[in-house]
């Protein structure tokens, strides 16, 4: 039977995908046409959502963006055979956005029913876990280390090194914690993966548990992601029923299980030690390090905390070999990164590619440049704590070290583009405001610095003692960078200082002419 694919990813739903599926189902019944509607995750081309796909002998053909009212005309034109229509896009895998990618983590996302375990297996699912079992824990960790995989949550710490430290620590219990608290604005890869291919994350976590000798794992997700949580919880239940998780997961008598926990709207809980406190049922207050979580983590036991994308990268590495992974990338940034584009770009969404492109390629070629027709003024990379890059720095190579050399960060892979209607002084003030709202309050530079930062920026924008206040703001930022316990206070200065350096005019009182710019 012909299969029609309609995404059920949160973003597609927010753009009416359920209405499209309902209308399609009604029209098929009315026309007495037999076809199956499969609900999938998203391919990551947000500007084409809802993207409807049809299985044809020549591969999957896409139509988009489809509204419910387009359904009758699509069927009239021959949707079921992939025939022409104004919304016809052609073979999905041949669209430039798709064909230019190297989809390792997102290979299946958008293609399959996320809760179809058989389909997951048919497309290579659990092969990485089987490989890990054949290799044994030590060699599995060696493979992860040799691949050069670094933490995709933002810090970029080598995953294999973390795993080895936890494996080498003796303890009665150890934990794997998956950080799915994807709070950075402009990032949505974790959500897409949990909604589109949840078994891949389960597989990655099982490999991690096997490698370090943990029998219990947690996923710490967000209350802002209700759909991802629902799908992931269902996937966990299916995995338990299939014996992938449970008392005999690794071997008889050697069990492994994953529990989903949901945060409660605190951005700081994305910081790994605050996350542990929250999992323990406490306020999300950052812990001082050392001791490191690999030695003294959840409930005082050795714990590895990895981002969703880090864990989801591991199955590919084990199946294809660490050499194949390490062969991709640039400098010390190996492998591929799911880059997430948003803001005022023509093409927004998720684009997975090896490190090494320039920002200009990402913004102008992949993202298609400005959507509003106004020039791009700046892009913020790496979430609310990441620096603003002006076009003069768009030659920067997408790689951890190249970004750090320009006081920026890759973070979790988000890039938000602002056109020239943006007021960078306002954005800098927001960075301080956000830090003040979300500060856990434990360390003074963050708790008080963020409030003082807003006040100084307000004074600058009111034209009060400009020179002195610029010096004061720079000094305050320096204190926050060096004196904060975690990345919240430590990195909030980056968007502020980058905005101040590249757009000093936006920190002056706004002139009447400028006020008139819409």
């Amino acid at each position: 039977m012909t299969r029609i694919f309609v995404p059920a990813d949160s973003l597609a739903l927010a753009l009416g995908a359920d209405d499209v599926a309902r209308c399609l189902s009604e029209e098929l019944t009315r026309r007495r046409v037999k076809a199956t509607i499969v609900r999938t995750g998203s391919r990551g081309m947000a500007w084409l959502e809802p993207l409807v796909e049809i299985e044809t002998p020549g591969g999957r053909v896409g139509y988009g963006p489809v509204k419910a009212r387009d359904v009758p005309s699509l069927l009239d034109a021959g949707l079921l055979t992939g025939n022409g229509h104004a919304l016809l896009l052609g073979p999905v895998n041949e669209l430039p956005w798709m064909s230019r990618q190297t989809r390792l983590v997102f290979a299946r996302c958008g293609e399959i029913d996320p809760l179809d375990l058989e389909e997951f297996r048919r497309l290579g699912g659990f092969l990485g876990f089987e490989r890990a079992r054949a290799l044994g824990p030590a060699e599995t960790i060696a493979q992860v280390t040799a691949s050069g995989l670094r933490g995709r949550g933002g810090a970029g710490f080598p995953a294999g090194v973390k795993w080895k430290s936890a494996a080498d620590t003796q303890a009665s219990r150890k934990f794997v914690v998956c950080n799915a608290d994807e709070g950075d604005s402009g990032t949505f890869a974790d959500r897409m993966l949990m909604e589109g291919d949840p078994f891949l994350l389960i597989e990655g976590m099982a490999i991690a548990g096997f490698a370090i000798g943990a029998s219990k794992a947690y996923v710490y997700s967000r209350s802002e992601y209700p759909r991802a949580n629902r799908i992931f919880a269902q996937a966990l239940e299916l995995a338990r029923r299939a014996g992938v998780l449970g008392e005999r997961a690794f071997a008889p008598g050697c069990g492994f299980d994953i529990e989903l926990r949901v945060g409660a709207g605190a951005y700081v809980c994305g910081e790994e030690t605050a996350l542990l406190e929250s999992l323990e049922g406490k306020r999300g207050m950052v812990r001082a390090k050392p001791p490191l979580p690999v030695h003294h983590g959840l409930f005082g036991k050795p714990t590895i905390i990895n981002n969703v994308l880090t864990l989801a990268s591991v199955p590919w590495i084990l199946v294809n070999g660490s050499d194949a992974y390490a062969a991709m990338g640039h400098g010390r940034s190996r492998g591929a990164m799911p880059i997430q584009l948003s803001g005022m770009l023509k093409h927004t969404g998720l684009f997975e590619a090896p490190f090494g492109m320039t920002l200009s390629e990402i913004i102008n070629d992949i993202g298609g440049g400005s959507r509003s027709g106004r020039p791009i003024k700046a892009v913020q990379c790496g979430g609310p704590l990441g620096a603003y890059f002006p076009p003069s720095l768009f030659d920067t190579i997408y790689d951890y070290e190249a970004f750090a050399a320009r006081d920026g960060l890759i973070g979790h892979g988000g890039i938000v583009a602002f056109d020239d209607s943006a007021d960078m002084g306002e954005q800098a003030r927001f960075a301080m405001e956000f830090c003040a709202i979300e500060s856990c309050g434990k360390c003074t530079p963050c708790r008080i610095g963020a409030v003082r930062g807003q006040e100084v920026i307000d004074k600058l924008r009111n034209g009060e003692r400009t020179q002195e206040n610029v010096a004061l703001l720079e000094d305050l930022c320096q204190t926050m960078k060096l004196g904060s316990l975690c990345a919240l206070g430590g990195f909030a200065p980056y968007p502020v200082l980058s905005a101040l350096r590249h757009f000093p005019e936006d920190f002056r009182p706004r002139s009447p002419e400028k006020e008139q710019v819409p």
Partner: protein, 154 residues
């Protein structure tokens, strides 16, 4: 639909989760799911069931943005105000809605019908600005479509 406060039901809901390690967040989420908010009496019940002090539970309730200590408005509109939405016009959309409802963020309408809360990222950044109106996600909004969607939900 949320239930009216009922200590027996609350105790049963708490009891069903006490086997979890570090159970407080799941307990608070469950209480808020059932009753719509976490009244002071619930704090006492949770504290005693989990062998914590009331101060510890209160500290957790007050730390997290999600937990409410009073019954919410009938309709909660959560508007994303983070950078990706800002870049695509979230401030203007929010201003349009505030003008239409004659309200401001976090201020419950006098008749208890609606409250607009800021949220920092719904993960729909690639189709910004985004909002959660009740339990319905909406993306690629502007002032007009946001006002229309909120009024339709009222």
């Amino acid at each position: 639909m949320t239930r009216t406060w009922n200590p027996e039901l609350a105790s049963r809901e708490i009891e069903a989760l006490t086997h979890l390690e570090g159970a407080l967040l799941p307990v608070l989420h469950r209480l808020q799911e059932v009753f719509g908010y976490i009244p002071a009496e619930a704090v006492t019940l949770a504290a005693s069931a989990l062998n914590l002090s009331r101060a510890e539970v209160h500290g957790v309730v007050s730390f997290y943005h999600d937990f409410r200590t009073e019954a919410p408005a009938r309709l909660v509109v959560r508007l994303c105000q983070a950078e990706a939405c800002q870049a695509a016009g979230a401030r203007a959309a929010a201003a349009a809605l505030m003008g239409r409802l004659k309200t401001e963020f976090m201020k419950v309408a006098p008749d208890g019908s609606v409250v607009v809360e800021p949220v920092y990222c719904l993960g729909l950044c690639a189709a910004a600005p985004a909002a959660l109106i009740g339990d319905r996600l909406l993306a690629a909004l502007d002032g007009a479509s946001l006002c229309e969607a909120v009024e339709a939900a009222l």
